[in-house]
């Protein structure tokens, strides 16, 4: 996939979708004898919202962990920006510009929202520990510049009122938003969201959907998300990958996927021989 701009297009609502930024080729992931992902290929285009859906245990989170470098697949290759990615540690993947949120929220509970979001800027800080402690010159300038960026995100996600509140005191829905803020602070080229709406009520889901669309629209971020709430996914995404029992059973626009017999079977249930 060297020709990145080969088939870029514009969506109905006027967003520009670019070429492929990430491609999964024939990925197989095993845990001992258990095959979590079996020979899956799909790609993610620049600027799109790409969803991975499937019933519980379909291998969605494993797939996300492969993208984020947490798992290294036994077979298959990951291509990122046209180049094959060697096996990497998660922090190396993060350095490449891939940020993520977690299904079961992984924030620093004792720290304030502001500090949590600031940790997302770690890649943008280069001054050493001592310089940070003395906080003069470059370290100070760096922090001011990063804080400015973080404040824009806080404003964008409407969490100004909890800026100085320790994360541990926040309700679930807000924590999810803080996690999104931290991921955004890294200015990622790909944003991975692991079940961003899990455990939310309808109103919180609507808010979160709004934010995801706005993030994509405003920052032009490429977003890959996992979700098992079909309704939400169909409204949000440009393209959807459907997984079941570690296999890909569908891939395409929400409409194509909705009418795919294999997908209908997986969701409505059909007897397995």
């Amino acid at each position: 996939m060297k020709d990145m701009d080969a088939d870029s297009y514009t969506t109905e609502d006027g967003r520009r979708i670019g070429g492929v930024v990430m491609e999964m080729r024939n990925i197989t992931l095993r845990f001992g004898g258990v095959v979590a992902i079996k020979d899956i290929s799909f790609d993610i285009r620049e600027g799109e919202i790409r969803a991975i859906i499937g019933p519980n245990g379909a291998g969605k989170s494993s797939m996300l962990n492969v993208i984020s470098g947490f798992y290294n697949p036994q077979e298959g290759e990951v291509y990122y920006k046209g180049e094959r990615r060697p096996p990497m540690k998660p922090y190396q993947v993060a350095q490449q510009g891939i940020a993520r949120t977690f299904q079961n929220i992984a924030l620093f509970e004792g720290m304030t929202v502001l500090d949590n979001v600031m940790t997302g800027r770690i890649r943008q800080m280069s001054s050493g520990l001592l310089a940070q402690a003395i906080w003069k010159g470059k370290a100070e300038r760096e922090e001011v510049a990063n804080r400015e960026q973080v404040e824009k995100i806080i404003d964008f996600l409407e969490i100004q009122h909890i800026r100085k509140t320790p994360v541990g005191r926040l309700p679930y829905g807000l924590k999810k938003r803080v996690e999104l803020a931290r991921a955004l602070a890294a200015e990622p080229s790909i944003l991975l969201l692991d079940e961003p709406m899990a455990g939310m009520n309808v109103e919180e889901k609507e808010d979160m959907s709004r934010f995801i669309l706005d993030v994509n629209d405003e920052f032009g971020s490429t977003i890959a998300l996992i979700e098992h709430d079909m309704g939400v996914v169909m409204d949000l995404s440009d393209r959807v990958v459907v997984m079941d029992y570690g296999k890909k059973i569908g891939d395409g626009t929400p409409d194509e996927v909705r009418n795919n017999q294999a997908v209908i079977d997986a969701y409505l249930g059909v007897a397995h021989d």
Binding site: E151, K152, E158, Q160, H161, D214
Partner: protein, 658 residues
């Protein structure tokens, strides 16, 4: 401020005051808004430039003199500028409640025939687009926050900064026109049109002239010695007359700085950061704050709680007297000073009242305990009595003559009289011009000599000469046996309990009083948590037997205190129920300023009122509710109706004996 009131000095309009301030106070702050975590500041000179650019931009869009320009958004400098820019080009600003539903907005936009609107964000743009088809005259919309709006059709949609840029670009083309229009403004030209929420019927457009606004601002500023050094936090709805007077009238007259919060939710934090010197809040805000303080003290350790309780008791004893400069013993003063160091000072600082020199509350009666609490801390909280039609001020409490049951003396330049039926009338420089497109209402409210009926019943207290308001004249009724029925008096007594958010008392033409109660989710929720009472929803909590028991004890306490009042002992509440939903402006049950609409409630909950009087012990009911986005739904519940103990007839005997 020693300026004379003469319009002939060239200060006959808000834009003229802006010119003066931009010259005299050029480098002093005029507006601050917290954004991106920092207080952004505009000096008077900068504000004048912003407003001029916007005014030129409005001319560029084709605004005519006499046009109405709707302004819809939360308190932000941009909207204050929009109002003054509109005035500068001879148009009339019409601020709207930003939380109003689309069809409420449609009514106002249609009624005033606004051709332009300056709105905040996508939410407001969507609402106006929704109703645009009903509005024939509507042409252009200007928005401040571009988020989510990039893909909208921009034929009639403009960004705020874009309009300003176009205005600056077309400076030479329009500046002469702008100057000419600005100079035409005088005391008689219209300053603003404000829609009154109205507890009955459709909103009415109150037309206020420059004379009304500037005179009312001048005299009230002099009354409280307001100077250019004041700091205010603008957080009350911009469509409300009070905000217009405080944040534009008085701010421009005195030249003080208006601070705008970062968002609605951060108001409390921003209040603390700014530490206003001049502060206004409706009683509800003070109530909520007190409730929060009390909830947190309930959670505090035993020693802290004891410290708080004992010093607060001392504050209640001597605090108000110290504030009024009365004689207080030396030991009491020392103890108060110690309390100030340990409790009052830090508490005031946390609440954001550390620097308040003049504080006002109005709009509704404030519970005596709540009022005393703030005054005992040393906060100069006073009451005023006012109306949109009076450009706010009818009466004010002078320093040192503050009481919770009166509303003070006539504001400077205002005359008051009370007619035979007890209704309060006033007239003065602030008295409104007329209701827009509604001559009948104008005539029935304002007579040929300029006296305006307030609709409130009251009397001047002998001795002090202060006005006391009893109730809305139309709410005061008679019980079946002919005795006085004053619902608000009883409701206020009930609402003093932190657990009770709202109460509606019935009894007009009936032989006994009954009540609807709304619980305060915050206070009761906290109480439930401490007592291990689980609940999943407001409705479930409101119907919990333990909650009902607690509310019943409150009602019975109120009954006991009512029994001591020979005039109102018969207004004791015999039966009550706790409503399954919060009374809400979106459902039309309250006004946007959160006053109870009795008529609507009595009609909407007819079945419940019936049940209160027919002796049944429970009733099943279904109620329509409106969600924030205008969609409708229904909730149903089975409500328990409880009998409260009343203190028997003793009151009767007392009356008979006298």
């Amino acid at each position: 401020m020693a300026q004379s009131s003469q319009a002939t000095e060239g200060l006959g309009s808000i834009p003229a005051l802006l010119q003066r301030n931009a010259g005299q106070f050029a480098e002093r702050p005029a507006y601050r808004e917290k954004e991106f975590g920092i207080w952004q500041c505009w000096t008077w000179a900068e504000a004048e430039k912003e407003i001029e650019a916007l005014a030129l931009g409005l001319l560029n869009l084709g605004v005519n003199e006499g046009d109405f320009i709707a302004v819809i958004g939360r308190n932000r400098p941009h909207f204050y500028w929009s109002m003054v820019a509109a005035q500068s080009v001879g148009a009339i600003p019409v601020p709207l409640y930003q939380d109003a539903a689309a069809d409420e907005m449609a009514y106002v936009l249609e009624h005033c025939g606004a051709r332009f609107a300056v709105v905040e964000d996508q939410e407001q743009v969507d609402k106006v687009i929704d109703v645009q088809d009903q509005l024939h005259q509507f042409e252009h919309m200007i928005y401040v926050d571009p988020r989510g709006l990039r893909k909208y059709d921009h034929h009639k949609l403009h960004t705020f900064t874009g309009v300003q840029d176009q205005g600056r670009a077309a400076y030479w083309e329009f500046i002469e026109d702008l100057k000419a229009r600005r100079e035409k403004l005088d005391y008689d030209s219209i300053c603003v049109m404000l829609y009154t929420s109205g507890t009955t019927g459709k909103p009415k457009g109150v037309v206020l002239s420059n004379r009304n606004i500037i005179e009312a601002s001048r005299s009230s500023s002099e009354f409280d010695n307001l100077s250019r050094d004041e700091e205010v936090l603008a957080y009350l709805p911009m469509a409300w007359v009070g905000d217009f007077i405080f944040s534009i009238g008085q701010a421009y007259w005195c030249g003080f700085c208006v601070n705008c919060p970062e968002s609605v939710e951060t108001m409390q934090i921003d209040l603390r950061e700014i530490g206003p010197t001049y502060y206004f809040a409706p009683p509800r805000v003070f109530e909520t704050q007190l409730t929060n303080v009390m909830i947190r003290m309930e959670d505090a350790g035993r020693f802290k709680k004891w410290l708080f309780d004992s010093f607060m008791a001392h504050a209640r004893k001597v605090g108000p007297a110290i504030l009024d400069g009365k004689q207080v013993g030396a030991w009491d003063r020392v103890k108060y000073a110690l309390g100030n160091l340990l409790i009052y000072g830090p508490l005031k600082d946390t609440l954001g009242f550390g620097r308040v020199r003049v504080g006002y509350t109005a709009g509704e009666a404030i519970g005596p305990e709540i009022f005393e609490f703030y005054r005992s801390l040393g906060i100069n909280l006073k009451q005023l009595y006012g109306q949109t039609e009076a450009s706010v001020f009818i009466t004010l409490q002078p320093d040192g003559e503050v009481r919770n049951d009166t509303v003070g003396v006539a504001a400077p330049g205002v005359e008051i009289r009370i007619d035979e039926s007890g209704e309060v009338f006033y007239r003065g420089a602030g008295t409104f011009e007329y209701y827009y497109k509604n001559p009948e209402s104008t005539k029935s409210t304002k007579d040929s000599e300029g006296w305006v009926a307030t609709g409130d019943a009251g009397f001047f207290e002998e001795g002090s000469g202060h006005l006391r308001i009893i109730d809305r004249a139309k709410d005061v009724g008679k019980m079946a046996d002919g005795k006085l029925f004053a619902p608000k008096y009883v409701e206020n007594k009930l609402k003093f309990y932190p657990n009770i958010l709202e109460a509606v008392v019935f009894g007009n033409q009936r032989d006994a009083c009954t009540a609807f109660i709304n619980i305060d989710l915050n206070a009761v929720g906290n109480w439930a948590e401490r007592n291990n009472i689980g609940y999943a929803s407001y409705q479930e909590l409101a119907g919990h037997p333990k909650v009902l028991e607690m509310i019943q004890s409150h009602v019975e306490e109120v009954n006991r205190s009512l029994a001591d009042d020979p005039m109102l002992s018969h207004c004791q509440v015999y039966r009550f129920l706790v409503l399954h939903k919060e009374l809400d402006a979106d459902d039309g049950e309250m006004t946007r300023t959160r006053k109870v609409r009795r008529g609507v409630i009595a009609e909407k909950f007819e079945d419940l009122v019936g049940a209160l009087y027919d002796g049944s012990t429970e009733i099943y009911t279904t109620t329509e509710v409106t969600y924030e986005d205008g969609r409708k739904g229904a909730i149903s519940a089975t409500l328990e109706i409880r009998n409260a103990k009343v203190v028997p007839v003793e009151g009767e005997k007392k009356v008979a004996a006298e």
